[in-house]
C-alpha cells in the first residue's frame, strides 16, 4: 500500500494513470480530500516535502482501507454488469 502522499503527488499520480482524462482541474481534488478526512477515511498531517516545503500529507486510515476495498468491489461489480448489458448480440 501507499505511504503518506501530499495532494500534489496524488494529483500527479491520478493524472499520469488516467492519461489526463480524470481530474481536469486539479483544484477539485482538495475538497474531495478534505471530505474524506472529515469522514475519517484518511488522516492528514503536516510534514516537510522532498523540496523542503511544508506540505499536508494524507494516508488511509483502517476505516478508509476497508471502505476502499468495499467501494472497489462494488465498482467492479457495477462495471461488469453494465458491460453485460451493453454487450451486443447476447440478449
Amino acid at each position: 500500500m501507499l505511504g503518506p502522499l501530499h495532494g500534489y503527488a496524488i494529483a500527479t499520480r491520478i493524472r499520469e494513470r488516467s492519461d489526463g482524462a480524470l481530474l481536469v482541474e486539479e483544484g477539485a481534488l482538495y475538497p474531495a480530500l478534505h471530505r474524506l478526512e472529515a469522514r475519517g477515511w484518511i488522516d492528514a498531517e503536516w510534514g516537510i516535502s522532498a523540496t523542503n516545503r511544508r506540505a499536508r500529507y494524507y494516508s488511509l486510515t483502517g476505516d478508509g482501507r476497508r471502505r476502499l476495498k468495499a467501494e472497489t468491489a462494488s465498482w467492479r461489480r457495477y462495471v461488469s454488469v453494465v458491460e453485460k448489458v451493453l454487450a451486443p448480440g447476447e440478449a
Binding site: H6, G7, Y8, A11, V24, E25, E26, G27, A28, Y30, P31, H34, R35, E37, A38, S49, T51, R53, R54, A55, R56
Partner: protein, 160 residues
C-alpha cells in the same frame, strides 16, 4: 497533562482565519510544486505560474469548499467532546455517590424536604390568596353585617 508555565494550548476550534491560512498554504504548496516542475522543463517562472494556476482551476471555490468542510467537521467533534465530557462527569458523580452514600442520602432528603415544604406552602398561598374564589359572578359578592351602636354589638363578619 500540564503544559509548561506560559504555554497556552491551541484554541479549539481554531479560528476561521487560521483554518483558511492552512488551506491556502496547502494550495500554495501544490502550485509551487507544479511551478518547480515546469521551470525544470524550461518554462519561465511567470509562464510556469500562470500555467500552474490554469491547471489548478478556480482558487476561491476550492478554498471556500475546504473551509466549510473543515468547520462542519470541527463542530461535530466539539459535540462529541461535549457529550463525552458529560458522560465522564456523570460517572464521576455516580462514583462519588457510591463512595459516600450517607452524604448522598442526606443531600437527597434535604432537597426532598425543601422542595416539599415549598410546594406545600405555595399550594396553600395559591389556593387562599392567588386563585379567584370558585363562585359565579364573584365580583358581585357582598359582605353583610349589622351594628347595634347603642350596645356596641356587631353581628356577622367584619374587619376589626
Amino acid at each position: 497533562m500540564p503544559l509548561p508555565p506560559g504555554v497556552r494550548p491551541d484554541p479549539w476550534p481554531p479560528p476561521d482565519s487560521r483554518r483558511r491560512a492552512a488551506i491556502r498554504a496547502e494550495i500554495e504548496f501544490h502550485l509551487q510544486s507544479r511551478i518547480d516542475e515546469l521551470v525544470a522543463r524550461g518554462w519561465t517562472p511567470a509562464a510556469a505560474r500562470s500555467e500552474a494556476l490554469r491547471q489548478f482551476g478556480a482558487l476561491e471555490p476550492v478554498e471556500q469548499a475546504c473551509h466549510l468542510i473543515g468547520r462542519k467537521r470541527e463542530r461535530r467533534m466539539r459535540r462529541l467532546v461535549f457529550w463525552r465530557d458529560w458522560h465522564l462527569d456523570l460517572r464521576y458523580a455516580l462514583r462519588g455517590i457510591r463512595q459516600s452514600p450517607v452524604l448522598a442520602v442526606t443531600v437527597v432528603v434535604t432537597f426532598a424536604l425543601g422542595i416539599g415544604a415549598n410546594a406545600a406552602v405555595f399550594g396553600l398561598v395559591d389556593a387562599v390568596l392567588l386563585n379567584p374564589l370558585p363562585f359565579a359572578h364573584r365580583d358581585r359578592l357582598v359582605r353583610i353585617w349589622e351594628e347595634n351602636r347603642r350596645e356596641g354589638h356587631t353581628f356577622g363578619t367584619r374587619e376589626q
